[in-house]
């Protein structure tokens, strides 16, 4: 074994060990870890769940952060002891509610969000794909193409078609059980993606058919779509190339997000995916993340209520993302009106992300998540990452079941829109 391999092995082993030790609080709560949204406790609780597949037992806060609003000021009505057997609770949701098209169900109301090859390492991408396969849910390519290594998992991979069309080819559309149009993303609403030059290695450039070490911008918006009619043509295009695919439309959360949702429905989308501004994994201007578009907590009820009033709520799937950190956030999203959630950052935290936000600096992520650096990327072995992500979702499943059991609900579908089960804290 050469020195480089030894160095990678040494640091991998130590990082993995640290992720096991830190949640025990044997060395205290790391002072510099976390922020208001992802508190140190929430990060450590996620490490713990990714390790054990169970909820933390040492008092670590695993339900909310400290942002002072949104999900963090919502709680559950106290309904006493479980009223139904937790094991009998059904967490599955359908991803197509229309009369036509393929019927797909996922066993838990979660699938993985788009993180592109180039913005994240191939190993992390593989870990996510393997986890999605094991759980029988989905992960998403993001806007960076479809690496060959992902093809074996294609039944569990959503192909994203975004404004840059990076890596979009006929076969990658044909692989996909679900094709996701990304009109906008929460972290960069109205601005499009941006992959910094340092991350555009030869592999990334090849995949995106671009030049090496040149910044890549997604030319927001789709220059072929300026109306619902144009959008319908997009949907028709996908359904012509792959008639089996469901179509998801990912949009951000402007003030008229409800109108956007109904437009997508009439254009033929199976899933309307609304992405709030407080999530996102890619590097983005701070001003955009903090200030543009509304948080997902406010967008969900707005869209849900409007779809109900239009009489189409039971014909379209509403998926929420952008700041979903915990099982409680998922359950609250559903109670506010979503069918399910898309999660990305929590998967990154499961494999060691500290939410430090240095993804765009120099060599990229120090623990191998958002990087294309050949050495750093190796810190995440796909199998290890898969196990951690599956464990996190297993722990979340337990929490979801316990919430539902408390209200005597036998299916997560019965929680949808049940705002009466929530309480607000000042």
């Amino acid at each position: 074994m050469g020195n480089l391999e030894l160095i990678v092995e040494k640091h991998s082993e130590r990082i993995h060990h640290g992720l096991e030790v830190l949640p025990s609080l044997r060395h205290g709560l790391p002072a510099g870890l976390g922020n208001k949204r992802w508190t140190a406790e929430l990060i450590l609780a996620t490490y713990e769940m990714a390790l054990t597949g169970d909820l933390p037992k040492n008092g670590l806060e695993y339900k909310i952060g400290d942002s002072g609003g949104g999900f963090d000021v919502l709680g559950w009505k106290n309904n006493g002891f479980p009223k139904v057997d937790q094991d009998s609770i059904d967490l599955s949701i359908p991803l197509n509610k229309r009369g036509e098209d393929r019927k797909i169900e996922i066993p838990l109301p979660i699938y993985g969000g788009g993180m592109s090859f180039g913005s994240i390492s191939l190993n992390f991408m593989l870990a996510r794909a393997r986890a999605a396969k094991r759980i029988r849910t989905y992960t998403c390519t993001g806007e960076g193409g479809y690496p060959d290594a992902i093809v074996p998992y294609r039944d569990h991979v959503i192909t994203q078609v975004a404004t840059g069309m990076f890596g979009v080819r006929e076969e990658t559309i044909q692989y996909a059980p679900i094709v996701e149009f990304k009109y906008a993303q929460g972290a960069k609403p109205g601005l499009g993606g941006h992959l910094l030059a340092d991350k555009v290695t030869s592999e990334v450039a090849k995949m995106r058919e671009s030049s090496m070490f040149t910044s890549l911008y997604s030319p927001f918006p789709f220059h072929s779509v300026y109306s619902v009619e144009d959008h319908k043509k997009h949907v028709d295009w996908i359904k012509t190339v792959n008639p089996r695919a469901l179509v998801s439309v990912k949009v951000s959360t402007p003030t008229d997000v409800d109108m956007v949702a109904i437009g997508s429905y009439y254009a033929g989308a199976n899933i309307i995916h609304i992405d709030g501004g407080y999530g996102g994994t890619g590097a983005a201007p701070e001003i955009a993340k903090k200030n543009i578009a509304m948080p997902i907590e406010y967008a969900i009820p707005k869209v849900h209520d409007y779809l109900v009033s239009e009489g189409v709520r039971d014909d379209i799937v509403l998926i929420a993302s952008g700041g979903i950190r915990t099982a409680d956030d998922i359950a609250k999203s559903i109670a506010l009106g979503a069918d399910g959630c898309v999660v990305a950052t929590a998967e990154a935290v499961a494999v060691g992300c500290t939410h430090c936000g240095n993804c765009e600096r120099g060599r990229g992520c120090q623990v191998g998540i958002t990087t294309t650096d050949p050495e750093l990327s190796q810190f995440i072995e796909p199998e290890w990452g898969e196990t951690r992500i599956v464990n996190l979702y297993t722990a979340w499943t337990k929490r979801l079941r316990s919430i539902l059991a408390g209200f005597g609900l036998k299916s997560v579908r019965d929680l949808r829109g049940r705002r009466d089960l929530l309480v607000r804290y000042k």
Partner: protein, 462 residues
Amino acid sequence: METETFKPSKYERFRIETKPAPHVYKIPNRFDVSAKKVRLAAMLVHEAFEFKLNKEVVLSRPCIYGVFGGHFGGFKPLKHKCVGCMRCVQEYPHIMTVKQSEEYNRLGDSFWTPEAVFTIWNEASTGKIPVKGMGYKGAFGGEGFDGIWTDMSEIVRPTRDGVYGREYISTSVDIGRKSTRVDFSKLDQAPSAVTVPVPIIFDELPTGDMSAWRAIGMASEKLGTFFVTRDQTRGEGRGSMVPIVDENSFHETIEKNPAVVEYDAERSDLFEKLASRLSSSIVIARMPVREDTGDVACELAREGVHGLHLYADYHGQDYSKDPRHVSASLKEVHQQLVKEGLRDQVTIIASGGITLAEHVPKAIMCGADLVGIDTTVLVALQAEFLGETRDRAGLKLRPRRIDPAWGAQRLVNLFGAWHDQLIEILSAMGMRDVRRLRGDIGRSMMDAELREQSFKGIAWAT
């Protein structure tokens, strides 16, 4: 045969020339990294055995930013290089500690957070906009500007094309009164509006530091904007000066014939006098925002003032008996002027508490045409916080000795970064002109309103 000589076009697209202007005074390390030295030594011995004295592997450090790259490695970490990634803590939780430094935590005051101070420093030194990965990390909403989100559009251009300049987004605004009708007898007397390329001016600061004022003057001239001052001996770039006139400085001002003048509307009634003696100047009434500012603003607009400079304290609170954030007061004044049919006749400049780039579009959405920045200027010039900087009369920010040229570049950089961020906000909304944003509350989303709409029916916890 005579050849026609090529005449270059005079067209120049507005652009702010930023260039690095590094900090001249040492800034605090953001993070404090430390190692338990005995444990570190023990770990090194242990790893020496584990890796059979393979120096390269043993000394391979758990930091990609070079914090342990000094001669003494972890025994004397290079703290200024730490970005708080926490990898060293992840790898060696029993040895390493990383926390925000005390010096960093002491920055600013109750309004200026350490993060805001760092943001301004970085913008002033690089001219670049702050970019980070992995989502938003702050509080959900908050008071004032923090409780406002701006709208976006899924499909309306110019969006990204605006950010990269392929499609032009105008950030110019006019200062001055717009005539509602043409009076042929007074055509030569009507002051024409002046245009500033960015909706930001430098507001008056109660500091006599001449190097700071020279920097402000130079930057104003370079940026094509204005600086407001009581002392007319201040600064360079006198063409950019907006003097605040009182009875004592009246004659001095008349001689200078500035393009724009301000007067304290609460202390004097100089408008008629100024308007008649400075017929080509734009006369702005300057006043603190109070409960009755809407009424006063309407009265002044009817009297014919060309603009209103409404100011809050340095923390963005107005001067009402029960102080509110200036965003709320601005909305009221704007709406009252609209209701009275007077809004288009006056320019509103808002200042006080405009400390971050996002405050500019938010103040404009609330009804201002442009903003004035104050304490932010001193922060950009690395002034020292000596206490609460809320009171306009007793500024607790001490300017440091600076080279005015360096200071001017810092301020140009700050404007460059803020201009680019304004473009981000406008492009996300599909707007090509910042003037369209004025008072456009419909393109804003208020935390308090959304909360009540979206959480309607959710009971309060008891």
